[in-house]
Symmetry: C2
């Protein structure tokens, strides 16, 4: 069963993400360290007890569709009621709208732990967060007043309706129609697919955010508008009005996240109580829908990236428990009898790979969340801008790297279990099935890589990337200094981290150099390395944060007064950091090499049958 | 739907694995090139038409257990009857036992294609092959006469019974009891788990090969004996005798290979028609069971490694078909409208990664099969010994690398499909679920790596590994020469392959050097890199074979007379080879780096909480 890894969370918040600085920002006056600690503990208790048990239940007893209604898995509706009653949906939303106004950094912890506890359940509040964010950013006062309080309280839930059968990653092909009416509303008709929690029985109303096209809209992405389409129209005095003309035609049979209903939604089938065509309310202005969607996209992608950390954490905990319990085989150095498999070097390699990718991902995501808080609250405009750029550059890395890592970690989780891991009853296989959606939804890894390369990296002429490299130089110096102060084994480990971090930094610089040289002459050769570059950057930034963790560990271990962290934790963290340096950071070189071969590959591909 | 990739198979057989040399070996006089071609074509027709349709059927309608009997998935029994009637089970077995006596190299093709067509179905004949091999190698004349003809004809099927709940990878813990009887038979009692096709309705009898312990046997692996335990005792005149006391208690609910029944078998429950205790016949001598098992283990592991190639091939075919069909997004270099996703650089990267790992794995496995034929049939004893050593060194590489690659390829197959790949109906997810067992059964990747490192590599003082490095040097020279003769783009590609192959060779040498230096002082630090070393070796040997393929492509493309292969095929193969060089070979450096950090990691691990 899942336990929130509170010590590593606290260490990452304080030593790496700068929690104290975030709490000192204007606007977070009530978020004291004591309050944050209380939230962490209460959150851990809640997700461990109320949410974690849902994970297997949802996998084994998926939601059932009947006559357009969806009955969710056993326990989901009751847990959602507890979630809403506990005020968890409002954690990061403004106090003025009924939320608690806590920093995104603190909300990030809650998002991670609830997704560890049950990914399928947590998708519902995750999407509601997105709808709240969109309405607060671009919704009219009337829309905000009608919907936001009910969403923040958890009374209603939200969805995002982007995909249509012919329009997946390519939103230019969205065809859903929205026809303006004399009363200022629109009537929507068409089909949306892959709508997470598009229909369910956990809340009284569902608020769909829908991309659609008005009759005279230009073709392509510049003719897409954004609409609010509620399942029930809002009535008087907080009561529900007529049933709107949006219907769940079926739910999908998926590889994983079985507990999360994935709906096909039909708009305008003519069966609503408010006449034919689903009544929709325009968000912002016509034809700017995609632009608005991108505002909330960063937040949603960040949250999905954290789901990668979350599933990885849960798979890692399960693998550690099994490996310590399962007695099998003698020690390679000799032992009187069989030993726990956690003693075998290759099982340790797998466990440490799992831990390294999980903790590296956690560090990147918390660092990004802190940057977002600083971007929103820092008094200095220049500081805000720099942190916004950092956050936006990190979002595709968090989404792409942490979710790809989750697939690798969950796969290793099965391997640690051996044949037992292949039996569904064990539970390891569920993580492997669940994790596989993460590099796909909210934009595939390739979409993230295009965003990183085509938008985030170039937007400021590479200034943000250059600042990260400068900050990493500071860490290299800190590693040197720490290695000088450390005892034997730790000194070796710190030096190895220093060497491999510097090599990975160079690998990134060489990749960037190739891309800069080639972008004007052979753009395909550059984009042949887009995902490799995203993965390289994730490997590198994760390694940088693990290196900073190692420096902090050395400082704390040397503290004669005992330090602020349990010594056993510090030894583990140091081990994980060194392992990351030894096994994960060298991947940067392999990715860089592949990126720099882009031109040669592209030349061969042109004569092949691929496209 | 699956199509046997006959052109790549022929190319790999002839240009890389030396089919002509194998066919010229003594004892293969009847295996003419024309006969082999006829077998390839007939095999392709058979598996495409009769076996491939079983794949989804078995996944959706798994076998059903009731009262100890197992009804297999729809179509399985009929297809098995066709398989037996077609003589496919006997392909590689001696003519004197009713087989066709074809080279293992040819049988390897048939094993690959039938596993591509349906992994779940093919496990049954694969295990029967293992039982035939064991009985022919160490069975008494009586056992051979009774069982082998019925197994070769496909009338009966075979199983391997190793695992018990407390004895998975650690066979020293096998506890099944075998008590000798006055008539020379034994009575077995105990429980075996994870028995593939341990019970089914496809054949009239099932022949279990069972590891068990006699009453006075020494503890550990030196007290394990091997028994034949048939479901029905053999009766007079080819009729079945009494039902033996071995029973299927249940079958497992697994992540994948749903069509393959995985049985829990109870021996000695007292319900048989021949009295209490399952009647078993000793194979060879008492206490040498594990040794015998290892004889057939190489063949079974090789066959499972090929399953990795097989699933990878099928996933690759499906991803190519989807990517060419699915229209989504503009070309990165600009296009008037949306294009097939196969045109996008990152989709091409995924497709080529899939193809490279598949074709690299195919080349390694055929090369190993040819070595086995040479080891068995070459007139010169020294040549036989060298090829046996080569085969045995390659077996853990084929098993470990090709199955780990299959998981990667199947995962990419889902990613190419995007959200559609996550829907079970599409079929991509099945490959991902099916592939995940391959690095586990018949010995996990760690077990393979221990075999490679602890046994195969050191046994001859590294002579076989050194010979491979020498052969790779020859390929480096051939790459240089080919690059000199080639036209612009191909020359660049060949030089890139040359550079990256040489770098990967050096990476292996450095890893070997570290391991040799460290083995005496810190064996745990060496085994911390065991799987990385196996993966490095797979990456390298696959890259070597792809480099040889590139050299052959250059030669054929330059052939003014037109060459022996379709030019489109040659361009594709060259592209795949160059891509392998650019994207796969650099992984060798990352693995090597990790291996060489073994000592530093081990020092940190000692102070951590892992074990």
């Amino acid at each position: 069963m899942y336990q929130a890894p509170l010590t590593d969370i606290r260490f990452t918040l304080k030593e790496l993400a700068g929690l104290d600085d975030v709490l000192a920002l204007p606007g977070y006056d009530e978020a004291t360290p004591d309050l944050v600690e209380a939230v962490l503990q209460e959150n851990a208790r809640f997700v461990e007890q109320a949410i974690a048990p849902l994970n297997r239940a949802g996998d084994r007893q998926p939601p059932v569709w009947r006559d357009g209604a969806v009955a969710t898995s056993p326990g989901y509706a009751a847990a959602y009621a507890d979630y809403a009653a506990g005020g968890w949906q409002g954690l990061q939303h403004p106090v003025s709208w009924g939320g608690q106004g806590l920093p995104k950094l603190v909300a990030a912890v809650a998002n991670e732990t609830i997704n560890s506890a049950c990914l399928s359940f947590s998708l519902c509040p995750l999407l509601t967060d997105g709808v709240i964010e969109a309405l607060l950013t671009v919704g009219s006062e009337s829309l905000r007043n009608t919907y936001v309080p009910n969403l923040v309280s958890g009374k209603w839930t939200g969805t995002m309706n982007l995909t249509e059968p012919q329009a997946g990653s390519d939103l230019a092909q969205v065809a859903m129609r929205a026809v303006p009416q004399q009363d200022g509303t629109y009537r929507l008709s068409g089909q949306k697919i892959f709508i997470t929690y598009g229909e369910h029985d956990m809340a009284e109303n569902i608020v769909h955010l829908v991309l659609a096209r008005t009759p005279d809209a230009p073709a392509g992405v510049k003719g897409i508008s954004l609409f609010v389409v509620p399942k029930f129209l809002p009535g008087d005095g907080g009561r529900l009005g007529p049933r709107n003309d949006v219907w769940c035609a079926s739910i999908e049979h998926k590889l994983g996240i079985h507990g999360s209903p994935t709906a096909v939604l039909l708009y305008g089938a003519g069966k609503g109580e408010a006449g034919e065509g689903a009544v929709g309310y325009l968000v912002g202005e016509e034809n700017r829908g995609l632009e608005y969607m991108f505002i909330m996209m960063n937040a949603a992608r960040f949250a999905v990236g954290q789901q990668g950390v979350a599933v990885a954490e849960r798979a890692t905990q399960q693998a550690f428990a099994y490996a310590r319990d399962r007695i099998q085989g003698r020690a390679v150095e000799g032992s009187p009898g069989p030993v726990a498999i956690a003693h075998h070097p290759d099982v340790q390699r797998m466990l440490l790979t799992m831990r390294a990718l999980t903790e590296g991902g956690r560090a990147i995501s918390y660092m990004a969340a802190a940057a977002r808080d600083t971007a929103a609250h820092h008094p200095d405009a220049g500081t805000r801008d720099r942190h916004r750029a950092l956050y936006e550059l990190l979002v595709p890395v968090v989404k792409g790297f942490c979710t790809e890592s989750a697939v690798e970690v969950a796969s290793l989780g099965i391997q640690v279990h051996g044949g037992t891991g292949y039996i569904e009853e064990t539970g390891a296989a569920q993580h492997y099935r669940d994790a596989r959606i993460l590099p796909i939804y909210e934009g595939t890894t390739a979409i993230q890589a295009n965003d990183l390369l085509g938008r985030k990296l170039l937007r400021d002429g590479g200034a943000t990337a250059a600042r990260i490299q400068q900050d990493m130089q500071v860490t290299l110096a800190a590693l040197d200094a720490a290695a000088g102060r450390a005892q034997g084994d730790d000194a070796q480990g710190l030096l190895l981290l220093r060497t491999n971090l510097a090599t990975a930094m160079q690998a990134q610089q060489q990749a960037l150099g190739f891309m800069a040289r080639t972008a004007m002459t052979d753009v395909r050769a550059v984009f042949a390395g887009s995902v490799p570059f995203l993965m390289l950057t994730g490997v590198l930034v994760g390694g940088w944060q693990m290196a900073r963790a190692a420096v902090a560990c050395q400082r704390e271990l040397a503290d004669a007064a005992g330090g602020r962290w349990p010594r056993e934790f510090l030894h583990n963290k140091m081990t994980t950091a060194v392992f990351y340096g030894a096994h994960i950071l060298p991947r940067a070189g392999a990715w860089s090499s592949a990126i720099q071969a882009g031109g040669v590959i592209e030349a061969c591909v042109r004569r092949s049958d691929i496209a």
